[in-house]
Symmetry: C2
Subunit: 369 residues, 2 copies
Amino acid sequence: MFQSLETCLEKYVPPEELGHVKRILYGKQLEELQLPELCTNNKENVEVKGYKFDSLVEELREKRIVRVGLIQNQIVLPTTAPLVEQRNAIYKKVGQIISLAAKANVNIICLQEAWSMPFAFCTREKFPWCQFAESVENGPSTTFLKEFCKQHNMVIISPILERDERDIIWNTAVVIDNLGNVIGKHRKNHIPRVGDFNESTYYMEGNTGHPVFETAFGRIAINICYGRHHPLNWLMFGLNGAEIVFNPSATIDGLSETLWGIESRTAAVANSYFSCAINRVGTEIFPAEFTSGDGKPAHKEFGHFYGSSYITAPDGSRTPGLSRTQSGLLISEMDLNLCRQIKDHWGFQMTQRLDLYAKSLDTIVNSTK
Amino acid sequence: MFQSLETCLEKYVPPEELGHVKRILYGKQLEELQLPELCTNNKENVEVKGYKFDSLVEELREKRIVRVGLIQNQIVLPTTAPLVEQRNAIYKKVGQIISLAAKANVNIICLQEAWSMPFAFCTREKFPWCQFAESVENGPSTTFLKEFCKQHNMVIISPILERDERDIIWNTAVVIDNLGNVIGKHRKNHIPRVGDFNESTYYMEGNTGHPVFETAFGRIAINICYGRHHPLNWLMFGLNGAEIVFNPSATIDGLSETLWGIESRTAAVANSYFSCAINRVGTEIFPAEFTSGDGKPAHKEFGHFYGSSYITAPDGSRTPGLSRTQSGLLISEMDLNLCRQIKDHWGFQMTQRLDLYAKSLDTIVNSTK
């Protein structure tokens, strides 16, 4: 299987031309982070990579350095195993990766969408999969992660399948702060109805707006999965003050791979913040067959989740992607002051003419009622 | 000088891996157009490339096939030559390229931003450069192009420096239909204030909104240059019904090259239309020195306009870019029905929640007054 675009380019393109290729495709060259040997050369066979984004030294503000970690993980057991075993196996594995991140002094971690379960929405089966849905405040995933937050002084974003007190299911990201407190949640704003992404069968559009969470390490927000196709979603998180926007996702090669490198990256540039694109990795096979609304025969496989998680800075420079085939941890060190530096440089906020667009959208919305 | 990303990848990456690289970077593989030998192997040494975008065959609508041509051209004479000679030399050259496009049965052509002059705004000099500013209705550029429109049954978009009847200067795209009539204009909505792009010194933000022009060959709009950094600008043209949005630009390698491949392409996907990114090509040197607001010594050179014009379909598939160093004509054949096919497939319009955003933007605008 094709491992990653970056590995391929590094292998074949000679150094001088490679410089041009990388400048065009990835922007300003990033320094690799020196990470502890224990972390990069781990016995769990997790790919660990680290990069440092550049920024200017200001005279009237200290740098605000943060280390962010993105985790992409394959499910561990087959989807036919007892659910509690499936979940515990994922907990064990993700716990190990979080511990690796702690060794590298990561401050904020974001996990992939619906991280504690297989991405079963392709099946359209409510049972058994809705059993994975859990409480934001005291479900097993929140309980599990709180300990890591406290132990390692870490903020963790935990995208789960939520079941609320009225038994309504949501696709939700829980934000747990570095003291182990749930400081808020965000419910996915845009729900796909494309191919095997039958998610509107399971949950509705989020009702939490575009919250930005003030943490000890910076102002963060979450744009869940399909929301990355919606520039207005990215925009609102920026207008509300986000400095880092995480995009925990689950998407497959046949559907979206050619869009993966451009949407989250364009959003970072347009909104002058850091964007973090996280994709599930691996191939998931389900017990019962399902159809995909494409006229083809029933089958049991969702397709390949291609990983390739990456981070983009407000100046458009980006890290290479993690592998397309392997669980991994991507670490980046960034100075949040870069957001304002780039706003001053490019001037996108100053030239944005929001009043014009507020009026235009209002007219459109009223004319189509 | 590095000729183009695509030439480099084709040269070094072996066929099987190249397939993966292209699928990730360019989407669905495009067929090359068979163009007349006279056209591709021309004596003017203009690079001519042609591609065909794929679409489904519908049963209840005929295909709506259009051929679009993008022209990127170097200026011909030095910027020290008499202005009328500079302009006539460009007219001659661009006229030749339009004739090549006519041989390939192109229906709609778009020229680069301020195509009939050097991009002199880096100098901050009003004289002599504002002399190039001209009337939309009957300036020399409109008069020159009308003849080609009539002769070849072609729509031409002509981005010029406009001088209106009150002697106000604008950055404007003129739309001339296939009968040679000016059917409208669009004035650049977002004006840069970055590096040598001192354009706010010359003209103000456009006052023409987001018009979409109904032509014999489809509904078209123009997002001029820096407007490509503004997702709301792209969005409004889509909401107003555009099927093809042209982005005539002038931008240089030190500033924006790493963003070039992602912004226009993301817009095509987010708004389910074809986007056409056109960049000026070549290096322009001015008679008097100027500074760039970056603490560096005065100099006379703007930097390298890197060409690389390309077209993206609503499904994200894109053509390779034209050369970074040479004048060129990029032709694409497309079925405009693909816009609606992709809207049905991805559902971005249905899931867009415009009412939510109209309300949110309104709140933001009112709270920051």
